[in-house]
Symmetry: C2
Subunit: 147 residues, 2 copies
């Protein structure tokens, strides 16, 4: 099994970042404007849409201002059953975000794409935290011919 | 062993991207302006500096317009002995770049940082190919408190 790993630092409090990861308003500010569901309850379900496609997540762990864990329960076949972890830690003026999308069965080309795209969305999360403005879909940054 | 994987698409010819990966002028346009050495010969050595720190690479494979492989022979301990592969493939108007930084011994926190930072530098490579202007160090995009 192979994992996607990322680290960004955001000049804001962990509680602010936690809020952007657990509320639909927060999530819609950096990932996709078409976000619905419940992100702040254990076993809550979140639905993220990018046009006709998207991802459904079930909330598997919540430790306020420190950790969020999702299980992918709907979406592309390669994503089903994978997990997404957000670990938050304060370091001076920064919140350090350790991101992990784990449990990929094979390093397929789609995984290469998703790794880069996650980085770009994490930069959107950083921008939202620091400037109040992210770049969620459909106005996200294009990285390749798969968008 | 764990790997960093990325995919970007650049609206330019594979020969242009290959040139930016094998000449010091090209490399200085997207990674770091302080680049020296020889990138277009097998066993050539490239030296990339970011202030006092940096990386030395030995060119291990060259397949014009298709593949470049470097071995890290100088730099941070975690990088020594790892390999960096650039695979280029034309798809319509695009050059698709599959990037792999392989052979990390452990998924240390520095690897999380490098994964995101590589993505940002790949977007710089994309920008250089499409607009003639990248964002190499020292004017690179900051991602966290390690820069």
């Amino acid at each position: 099994m192979v994992n996607i790993l990322h680290r960004v630092g955001i000049r804001t409090a962990p509680s602010d970042v936690y809020k952007t990861l657990t509320t639909t308003a927060g999530l819609a500010g950096w990932w996709t404007t078409d976000t619905s569901g419940t992100g702040d309850e254990l076993d809550g379900r979140l639905e993220f849409r990018f046009g006709a496609d998207g991802f459904d997540m079930q909330v598997r762990d919540l430790d306020p201002d420190r950790h969020v864990r999702w299980e992918v329960v709907g979406g592309p076949e390669e994503w089903i059953g994978t997990h997404i972890d957000w670990k938050l830690d304060r370091s001076g003026d920064w919140t350090i975000v350790l991101f992990e999308h784990s449990g990929w069965r094979e390093p397929v080309e789609f995984m290469y794409h998703c790794s880069t795209k996650w980085a770009v969305f994490l930069m959107s999360l950083k921008s939202l935290g620091e400037t109040g403005r992210g770049a969620p879909a459909p106005d996200d940054v294009e990285i390749d011919n798969w968008n």
